[in-house]
């Protein structure tokens, strides 16, 4: 194998996903509307193939490719497999929703796959430029996806906001990267890291760059004070796109943080940890408190995302394998929870009806005890009530923060989590103790019902056996850093 071949071999899953996205774009041209199910199947096949490629080409060592701009390590492989699973679930959940709203078109699937490719690049980026382009590939696809429901004014407005603010965040990120380049003279993550260790006299410039890099990342994650877009975009975007933004993209953002802050700027840990603590505390406080007064379910979940991100940041408080593994575990758990919660919203949506207000959940137990039960598990998990997955996730990140010596911050977070439990429990209360407002039957394809059931039950199963997921996360972190 010559150099190029081995490079391409490392990036095989990305190439496959990108090629298939283009194939799907072309395929769409030749299909009649009633044959579009093929596109759906092709997309699922793409994800399956990508999964196979990722697993088959997996080696436990760290391999660099493309002039060390791209890395193929265990962490990236594990994150990518999680992304495939998440995206696959999104596609399962979204099919009926898209069909009923005239959005069941090739572009949706192509854009989802393009955004997936962007996320994969973010997970594997080892160079400021690759990371940035991956981020833009993801963001641009998302902007388009948010606006895809063209006649929906709210969606268009949300897309506009997302686009403008995203551009601003990208600008900040780029500015920060340019400062870091100025201080270290390199864009390679590993070189930046090694030069940081050697030369300490550029500290101020590096910190300046760091601030902007952190700001850019915080925007992607949705941490306070860069969270403003989240509620509006979550609410305005079509629910399927909200599902995408609210679940798997956070995995990519997590990888982004690992690549930039941990692998690249670990030397500056003291500086960015201070920023992260502030953002974490604010996110948890504002997320949980504001969520209480929301009446829109998607908006409420948006604020819940913000608070979850705050918890995630606690995992970065200790740059130990333990802390990072707990952060990884947290974001993986969050992704599963978020998929389940939005899955229920999609399940209850019908033609011309979005089940996105809290009132729509009223009396769900009378309409369908099973889905009420699934939603209850999901809400318990989000609230962090044992023995669900969410409990263990919160537990480990808080433990990591405690080990890093942030006692009072942890106490505060626990207090806020207790406040947060109320709005999750309010949903449980609405489902079980209120009279349903509509009695229409819940219609969904069997695949969706089955997938949603597995999705929500996994919160319980993994909560009982957290060691499985935890060991995967810890293994990925240990093997890669």
């Amino acid at each position: 194998m010559n150099a190029l071949q081995s490079d391409l071999f490392s990036a095989l899953p990305e190439l496959w996903v990108l090629s298939m996205a283009m194939v799907i774009l072309l395929l769409d041209l030749f299909l009649k509307p009633q044959q579009r199910i093929l596109i759906y199947l092709a997309s699922q096949l793409t994800l399956l193939g990508a999964g196979v490629l990722t697993v088959v080409t997996h080696v436990p060592t760290v391999g660099y490719a493309f002039n060390a701009m791209f890395v193929d390590d265990t962490l990236s492989d594990v994150i990518k497999v999680m992304m495939y699973i998440g995206t696959s679930l999104i596609l399962v959940y979204s099919r009926q929703y898209l069909q009923l709203r005239g959005m069941f078109r090739g572009e949706f699937y192509a854009l989802v796959l393009f955004s997936l490719a962007g996320m994969m690049v973010m997970a594997s980026g080892q160079h400021f430029l690759t990371l940035y382009i991956g981020l833009e590939l993801l963001s641009l696809s998302l902007y388009a996806l948010v606006a895809l429901d063209r006649d929906n004014v709210r969606a268009t407005e949300a897309a506009m906001k997302y686009f403008v603010l995203g551009a601003l965040a990208s600008g900040m990120l780029l500015y920060g990267m340019s400062m870091l380049y100025g201080a270290t003279g390199s864009l390679h993550i590993s070189e930046v890291s090694s030069r940081l260790m050697n030369g300490g006299d550029h500290h101020a410039v590096m910190v300046l760059g760091l601030v902007f890099v952190v700001a850019g990342m915080a925007f992607k994650l949705g941490a306070v004070p860069f969270q403003m877009w989240i509620p509006d975009v979550y609410e305005g975007a079509p629910t399927v796109v909200t599902l995408l933004i609210g679940s798997v993209t956070k995995l990519a953002a997590f990888a982004f943080v690992i690549r930039l802050l941990i692998q690249g700027l670990a030397v500056l840990a003291v500086d960015w940890q201070n920023m992260l603590v502030i953002m974490a505390v604010l996110s948890i406080a504002i997320g949980n408190i504001t969520a209480i007064v929301q009446t829109n379910l998607k908006r409420m979940l948006a604020y819940s995302t913000i608070s979850h991100i705050g918890f995630l940041l606690f995992g970065f408080m200790s740059v130990s394998g333990n802390g990072l593994a707990s952060a990884f575990f947290y974001i993986a758990s969050y992704t599963i929870m978020s998929l389940a919660a939005f899955g229920v919203i999609l399940l209850l949506s019908r033609q011309g009806f979005e089940a996105d207000t809290l009132d729509d959940l009223k009396g769900l137990n009378q309409r369908s005890p099973w889905y009420a039960f699934l939603m209850m598990i999901t809400m318990f998990s989000m609230a962090g009530i044992p023995p669900t997955l969410g409990f263990y996730a919160k537990f480990t990140v808080l433990q990591a923060a405690l080990q890093a010596g942030y006692l009072w911050v942890v106490v505060f977070a626990v207090l806020m989590a207790a406040i947060g439990a109320y709005y999750y429990l309010r949903i449980v209360k609405l489902m079980y103790f209120d009279e349903p407002q509509d009695h229409s039957p819940i219609v969904a394809p069997f695949g969706m019902k089955a997938a949603l059931s597995v999705n929500a039950l996994s919160l319980l199963a993994l909560g009982l056996l957290p060691q499985i997921l935890m060991s995967i996360c810890a293994y990925a972190i240990v093997q890669s850093l």
Binding site: A218, P225, M228, P466
Partner: protein, 670 residues
């Protein structure tokens, strides 16, 4: 089948039944709901008996059955500790639960939530078993929370009644206060004693007997005292001790079978069980024991008074439960743990009996719960009458009845104790005997004897506890005896209420039954020892009791209630008119509720209202206007305002955010 499998099956069978009935109950035939759950609990009861026999042979088990997670050097396991203490609790829980399951078939026959109810009570049985079988604090806490959750669901079972929703939130929130203390206590145990496993904790605990902690710098407190008091705060919440008792009377909004199962026989005694289990810790702190004793004594006496003025049949029994829980706590305070367990057991039987009897009366009265509208029911409901009489006699401590042995043992134990507060406690439990006898027989006479008042009552309005869906009897209806599924549990519960004390007192209290499960510091707390010295057999105890103050007081209480409510019903009314202030004090339940509502502004009702009122606007108003919650409301409002939807506001906030981060970092740098 290995013993471990049996241990696992005991909690899992009810859980399985609960899951099947809960998830698929609406699709299955109605009868399958009770058959499945009854079969599950019955099997569980059978296996518990088997385990009990096994334990009597001297076999014990302590070990993990499943490791949940290992983290930071601590592993959290699901493990069972099966010793005699556990075995007896398992027996009580599964037996009462089985009785309640059977009873429910009749009681809830017409309720639309039939299968849901069975699923909940089976789930409760599972949780309670997990709680008592735990061999570590983590699992104890899990069971603790789970029983709380199911209790919360069951109190609000009739969710269409606002009072029920209010009551369940109150229960939930008050229990949160207790749980907070409990969790802190567990945290202290983990932090200082380095383990969550009972055996490990108990073995290292004596080394920490004199350890000090400084929670407030410069104020060293005894580690054991702080830990035990925190743990006991958890018990106060769950076992409804003053001042965390306020939720229990309101919990009577739930269906009667769960009042019997959860709020009389099992869940509320979890606190008693927990303290007994923790006896190796509590024995190390004199202060904590005194605290326990005084709280228990206050509960035993003052909650009894409230029973006198209640007119809702279930509330009378509820206040008597509070008072009896106080007795058990008093027993704990004087280190008579086995006596507390003994009373827990007898109380489980006769109080479940009384509640189920009350439920039977309520059914006979067509869901009228006001005792002033009853009277003379003994002719119409003979089985209910006899069994309730047995329950009442057991409750007031009539010699030879089960309640006599346990309650008299408590009183004797207090007498022999010399711990701080025992003087007051002795007075309280003695006075409590009189009060108990008075209110129990007041209820008994008003319900089963005297004039048949329901005819005239049909017209007059129900008072404060009026329930919209309670019909009551019409002027020409006659109450009728309940079906056999209801009376059978009454009879089956009446048997142990009558006889268990006589049979069990000697082996349980003085035969070293509990073995190593309970540790007592003999030299510092000699009450148990003294008690044994004075014990000369169950029959002798009963005959001797005829001349002791408790019996005389009880007899006086019965006689007085007969005189007041049968002979001269005008006297209570006159007293009520004369002592209006006292009456008001009792009517307001000593103002605990008012106090809670006014002082803990963010407390029960407010937050309760916050959660169940559907209109957000109302809720924000209610939220913002009141007390400590005001701050949160304000923050929400401000953030909401900031979330203006205008893109340049967002962009500006991002820039300000970046600017502040930069300033923060530079400030540290320069």
């Amino acid at each position: 089948m290995s013993m471990q499998t049996i241990y696992l099956l005991i909690p899992l069978l009810p859980l399985f039944a609960a899951a099947v009935v809960g998830l698929f109950g609406s699709r299955l035939p109605r009868a399958s709901a009770h058959w499945l759950t009854i079969a599950g609990v019955a099997a569980s009861f059978g296996l518990s008996v088997y385990v009990f026999m096994d334990v009597l042979q001297g076999y014990e088990f302590n070990g993990p059955v499943y490791t949940w997670l290992t983290s930071g050097g601590h592993s959290f396991e699901v493990g069972f500790l099966i010793d005699r203490l556990t075995a007896i609790m398992m027996l009580v829980v599964t037996f009462v639960s089985l009785m309640v399951h059977i009873y429910t078939v009749g009681y809830m026959a017409e309720d639309p939530g039939y299968s849901r109810f069975f699923s909940y009570i089976s789930l409760f049985t599972f949780s309670m078993l997990m709680l008592v079988m735990a061999n570590n604090f983590m699992q104890l806490f899990f069971g603790w929370e789970a029983v709380g959750l199911v209790s919360y669901l069951l109190i609000g079972f009739w969710y269409k009644r606002p009072t029920a929703i209010y009551a369940n939130l109150k229960a939930f929130l008050v229990n949160r206060v207790g749980d907070f203390g409990f969790l802190l206590g567990i945290g202290m145990v983990l932090y200082y004693l380095g383990s969550l496993d009972y055996a490990a904790v108990f073995s290292v605990a004596p080394q920490f007997a004199d350890a000090k902690v400084e929670i407030i710098p410069g104020q060293p407190w005894s580690l054991m005292t702080v830990t035990c008091i925190l743990l006991f705060i958890g018990a106060m919440g769950k076992s409804a001790q003053v001042p965390l008792h306020v939720w229990l009377p309101d919990s009577m909004e739930g269906p009667t079978p769960i009042s019997a199962l959860i709020h009389a026989a099992t869940m509320v005694t979890a606190g008693i069980f927990m303290v007994t289990r923790m006896s190796p810790l509590f024995e190390l702190s004199e202060t904590a024991l005194s605290f326990v004793l005084v709280i228990g004594a206050i509960t035993a006496l003052f909650m009894g008074f409230l029973g006198i003025i209640q007119n809702d049949i279930k509330r009378v029994v509820a206040y008597s439960t509070l008072s009896q829980l106080g007795y058990m706590t008093v027993a704990l305070g004087v280190s008579a743990y086995s006596v507390a367990m003994f009373h827990l057991m007898t109380h489980a039987f006769f109080k479940a009996l009384l509640f189920l009897g009350a439920g039977s009366v309520i059914m006979g009265m067509h869901h009228d719960q006001d005792i002033r509208n009853m009277g003379g029911l003994r002719k119409y409901m003979p089985i209910t009458w006899i069994t309730s009489l047995i329950g009442s006699l057991a409750l007031i401590g009539t010699p030879l009845f089960s309640g006599f042995y346990s309650k008299d043992s408590i009183i004797e134990a207090v007498k022999f104790s010399s711990i701080a507060g025992s003087g007051f406690a002795y007075f309280a439990v003695l006075a409590g005997v009189f009060v108990t006898a008075f209110y129990s027989f007041r209820m008994y006479f008003l319900v089963f004897h005297g004039k048949e008042r329901w005819m005239e009552a049909a017209h007059h309005d129900h008072d404060d506890h009026a329930h919209d869906d309670h019909h009551g009897l019409g002027p020409h209806d006659k109450p009728h005896e309940s079906p056999w599924v209801v009376t059978l549990p009454l009879v089956l519960l009446a048997i142990p209420s009558l006889a268990i004390g006589y049979v069990a007192i000697e082996p349980l209290l003085f035969g070293g039954f509990f073995g190593d499960a309970i540790k007592i510091d003999q030299t510092a707390h000699p009450a148990m020892h003294e008690l044994a010295q004075h014990f000369h057999g169950a029959l002798a105890m009963a005959t001797h009791a005829l001349t002791t103050p408790p019996f005389l007081l009880a007899a006086a209480g019965v006689a007085l209630s007969w005189f007041f409510y049968m002979k001269r019903p005008d006297i209570p009314a006159a007293i009520k008119a004369r002592c209006n202030g006292l009456y008001q004090l009792l009517e307001n339940k000593y103002g605990f509720d008012d106090f809670n509502e006014k002082v803990f502004a963010g407390g029960s009702r407010l937050l309760g209202g916050v959660l169940w009122r559907t209109s957000d606007v109302k809720w924000i108003d209610g939220f913002v206007v009141n007390g400590t919650a005001r701050l949160i409301g304000r923050i929400s409002a401000v953030v909401r305002h900031l979330q203006s939807g205008l893109i340049y506001h967002y962009a500006f906030s991002m820039i300000i955010g970046a600017f502040l981060l930069l300033s923060f970092v530079l400030f540290r740098l320069l």
